[in-house]
């Protein structure tokens, strides 16, 4: 362990405190207090104290009173009672009111104390792991709830649509009408496909570890450029890229690709079809160990009132195009992983610009 375990010892007799500190200070970081207010003050200043030893018999408040009080205000440290006074009443109180972990009898031996510290520390670690795991679980449950809700719309929705279409197909004789419907069915199937693919992205972002490599933004952008070349041509959207990288950049490449790809996909998707001057622009600059990426489009824009929600899971600002509500949420998760930032500015009917900054590791 790199850092010593922090321990607080409360006793009204300074000699006891000195003795305790003298024999344990090499292996542990010891804090001492001669009264309850002093002890509480110490706990407020040192939030990482793991174990508290306290004498039972003190003027003013007893050890049990002290433990009972901090059980609510400072629940994390493990409480150990230290006393020569062994009547059954105080033991019962210490257990029932103070929820103590151990009871060490005075005069104590160093071995007793060290053993108690070891056990208490294990207990503390297990407890804090549990609380971290609990938080993670709570987050996972919240997202699971959103999933359950979206499954009905994003998976069952297209499926029942296709089922309805199959049902209707029995009645259709006209080939043109059938073709029109097949076209719409294809769109629904694509939507399902996109959904499943983004779900995979979502999963790998939540679970995967960082894989740090040297990143060449020219390579990434060139690849994306060839991917979007067809889209650019068929939809008559000018696609301009500019990369300035004169220094080494280290980070995980997969989330970076995912971020740029998602932003580009949106930039192409949400163009105003009727507009004459459609364009998508990507600018990447790597400077002072930081990459700044701009993705700018001349598309339909985002309502100002929606801007706060666009990074939420399953939020969709617009129903005109096929979308899963995963895209920008995945972008945000990827940035969280890379310790990056995103900003958005948008003017309705004029276009949207996303600015992403990612630090080199």
């Amino acid at each position: 362990m790199s850092e010593k375990i922090k321990i607080l010892y409360v006793d009204d007799e300074p000699d006891n405190l000195i003795g305790f500190k003298a024999s344990l200070r090499l292996d542990y970081q010891i804090f001492t207090a001669t009264s309850v207010p002093e002890a509480i003050n110490c706990l407020n200043n040192e939030p990482h104290i793991r174990i508290i030893f306290c004498d039972q018999r003190m003027p003013g408040k007893t050890g049990v009173d002290f433990f009972e009080e901090i059980r609510v205000s400072h629940p994390l440290p493990v409480r150990i009672m230290l006393t020569a006074y062994t009547d059954i009443e105080s033991i019962i109180d210490a257990i029932n009111k103070g929820h103590i972990f151990r009871y060490v009898q005075k005069p104590w031996s160093e071995a007793d104390i060290i053993w108690a510290i070891d056990e208490a520390n294990k207990f503390y670690m297990a407890n804090s792991m549990l609380s971290i795991k609990n938080d993670e679980l709570q987050k996972a449950y919240n997202e699971l709830n959103k999933f359950a809700y979206s499954v009905s719309h994003d998976i069952r929705g297209p499926l029942t649509g296709i089922l309805g279409a199959i049902n209707l197909a029995r009645e259709i004789d006209d080939v043109e009408e059938m073709k029109a419907m097949l076209f719409l069915m294809e769109k629904s199937v694509q939507k399902l496909n996109t959904y499943v693919l983004s779900m995979h992205d979502y999963y790998s972002l939540q679970r995967g570890e960082l894989k740090i490599t040297h990143i060449n933004f020219n390579t990434i952008i060139d690849e994306l450029k060839s991917i979007y070349a067809l889209n650019s041509k068929t939809n008559d959207v000018a696609f301009n890229v500019c990369v300035k990288q004169n220094e080494d950049f280290l980070n995980d490449e997969a989330p970076i690709r995912l971020i740029i790809n998602n932003l580009l996909s949106n930039a192409f998707k949400y163009q105003n079809k009727a507009s004459r001057n459609k364009s998508v622009e990507v600018n990447v600059e790597v400077k002072n160990s930081e990459a700044t990426i701009y993705v700018k489009d001349t598309g339909i824009g985002i309502l100002e009132s929606h801007l706060g929600d666009i990074f939420n899971l399953f939020f969709r600002s617009n129903s005109l195009e096929v979308g899963s509500g995963f895209g920008l949420y995945n972008v945000k998760s990827a940035l969280l992983k890379l310790n990056g930032q995103i900003e958005v500015t948008s003017v309705l009917h004029q276009g949207t610009t996303f600015k992403v900054t990612i630090p080199s590791i």
Binding site: G157, T160, G161, L163, G164, L184, K187
Partner: protein, 139 residues
Amino acid sequence: MNITFSFIIIDDSELDCFVTQKFLERSNKSLTINTFQDAEDALKIIRESRNKKSKRPTIVLLDLLMPGMSGFKFVEEFEKFPAEIQKMYRIIILTVLSSNSHPIDIHRVLNNGTVHSVIEKPLTKEKLISLLDDIEPGQ
């Protein structure tokens, strides 16, 4: 079938709009059918219908989960309209149902009386016929 309704279909899925429309057309060639992928657009049309006299009663087939304005929000807004507009419309919810998705919300809109009934997707010929039979005596 002697139907004197017109229809409004509100569904964010293009395919669902198409399928529902075709089913309706097959049941009666002379129906007026308007489809909307955005509930807000439909609401606007209904709001403006106040000025048109001697309109046929209109059945609104409404999806619930939609980006932008949801079906619930649509019903909420619709309930703010004056009674003379409201009585010209019958709202029928046509949606994907699952055991855990918003049963309470559905009960709420049904209890208000604004919504006539709920039909589970996918729409079939049989469901449509029973729906039309069901709604006619009430008018």
